[in-house]
């Protein structure tokens, strides 16, 4: 568990940025 966490943490900001792009795309599709 801890080892998996340590592996994920360095790429977490990039995952967060990708998710932010997806959420933005969803908002544009749903609300514009």
């Amino acid at each position: 568990m801890k080892r998996a966490f340590i592996k994920v943490v360095p790429v977490l900001p990039f995952i967060v940025l990708a998710l932010a792009a997806l959420v933005a795309a969803y908002h544009i599709h749903r609300y514009w």
């Binding site: 340590i6 943490v9 360095p10 977490l12 932010a20 908002h27 609300y31």
Partner: protein
């Protein structure tokens, strides 16, 4: 931070230096959870007081003129707070263009609303830095006093000359382009070569941290009880010291920086750390560990003064009243506090260079689009 521009790196390493270390969960529950809960409650209460109902989802924000679910605002605060704190910045300069271009909240109300976010976002970091000794009121005083003047001027410029979204976005674009360029510039060999003083500080910091780790203690790079101390204080200059290094700064320059950055930041509706931090680095060769002592109080005070001007001074002198969407600001700010805290805990595991490159390119390109749109209208709304 920031924070503003709050490099959250120090929160991590320095906080345990002054007191017995807390577990991650304990620290979150004691320091951060009360702030986050309090701000969320403020969001709900302010929504009922301002609009008579809880905004979000099918109930649009009346002043912003937008429909957005509350989870999206919480997500906005989290991802901007997390990502920007990792690169040593605060939420405001990212949440503003996102609110304007993705959520389409681009009327005047967006500026005071964003100031709520920038006023609250650095609170957690402020507590951590203060406990860790990164606190010096003599140093923070002059930029903060400058902001008392500068941040009163910005809102007048915003309501008088920049009420139209297109020129306002062009100005935001300029700020984003500057920030994006600076983030990329910070990882170039030329920048790193020129920053001898900062590099020496960081190397000593890391050596201490390694020694602590080798001794079986938490890897704190700052000895327990270390403080930023004032060695000399007058109307002309101030001399401060931290650990074994000293810096002398001109008081009029610090005050002038506070005025100038205050004008720009309050016009846009951001904290101003994105400008203040690189200027302090360039002018006085200060390391980030010391800069936060001035920039965090500056960003918070600047935001509060700007908000005060939007709420009271501008209406009193011009008759124009453009209040913020209080609930929008509080909901985004609550999760931004959590995002910045999480960043402070994970920053040392994240490849900073790649992240600065990605964040810098995204920010710079966004800024460029705003600027281009001012001169040649783009075929899509931005």
């Amino acid at each position: 931070m920031g924070t503003s521009s709050a490099s959250s790196e120090l929160t991590v390493i320095a906080a345990p230096a002054a007191r017995a270390p807390l577990s991650l969960r304990g620290e979150f529950l004691r320091d951060q959870a009360p702030i986050i809960t309090g701000v969320l409650i403020l969001g709900v209460v302010s929504s009922y007081l301002q609009h008579g109902f809880l905004v979000g989802g099918d109930r649009p924000f009346p002043l912003a003129g937008l429909s957005v679910p509350l989870w999206h605002l919480l997500w906005l605060g989290f991802w901007t707070g997390y990502t920007m704190a990792l690169v040593g910045e605060a939420t405001g300069i990212f949440s503003l263009p996102y609110a304007m271009s993705i959520l389409r909240f681009d009327n005047i109300h967006v500026s005071p609303t964003n100031l709520i976010i920038t006023a609250i976002n650095p609170v957690g970091a402020l507590l951590g830095f203060r406990r860790a000794g990164q606190w010096n009121l003599d140093f923070a005083l002059w930029p903060s006093l400058g902001s008392l003047i500068g941040s009163q001027v910005g809102p007048f410029i915003r309501v008088s000359y920049l009420s139209d979204p297109v020129p306002f976005k062009a100005l935001v674009g300029l700020a984003l382009f500057w920030l994006g360029g600076h983030l990329v510039w910070e990882i170039t060999p030329w920048y790193l070569r020129k920053r001898q003083s900062q590099r020496e500080f960081t190397e000593r910091f890391r050596a201490r941290a390694r020694a602590q780790a080798a001794a079986g203690r938490l890897p704190s790079g700052i000895p327990a009880g270390a403080r930023i101390v004032t060695l000399e204080r007058s109307w002309r200059r101030i001399r401060i010291a931290f650990l074994d290094q000293q810096w002398t700064m001109s008081v009029p320059v610090l005050f002038g920086l506070g005025v100038g950055v205050g004008v720009v930041a309050s016009t846009l509706g951001v904290g101003g750390g994105f400008l203040m931090t690189p200027l302090l680095v360039t002018l006085f060769k200060l390391p980030m560990y010391v800069i936060v002592a001035a920039t965090i109080p500056f960003v918070m005070l600047q935001s509060l003064v700007g908000l005060f001007a939007y709420l009271l001074v501008v209406p009193a002198l011009t008759g124009r009243y453009d209040p913020p969407e209080w609930a929008f600001g509080f909901f985004v700010a609550a999760s931004a506090v959590f995002g910045a805290w999480l960043a402070s805990k994970t920053q040392r595991f994240v490849p900073e260079s790649y992240l600065k490159l990605v964040a810098g390119v995204i920010t710079g390109l966004g800024g460029l689009l705003y600027l281009v749109n001012y001169f040649v209208p783009l075929p899509f709304r931005i």
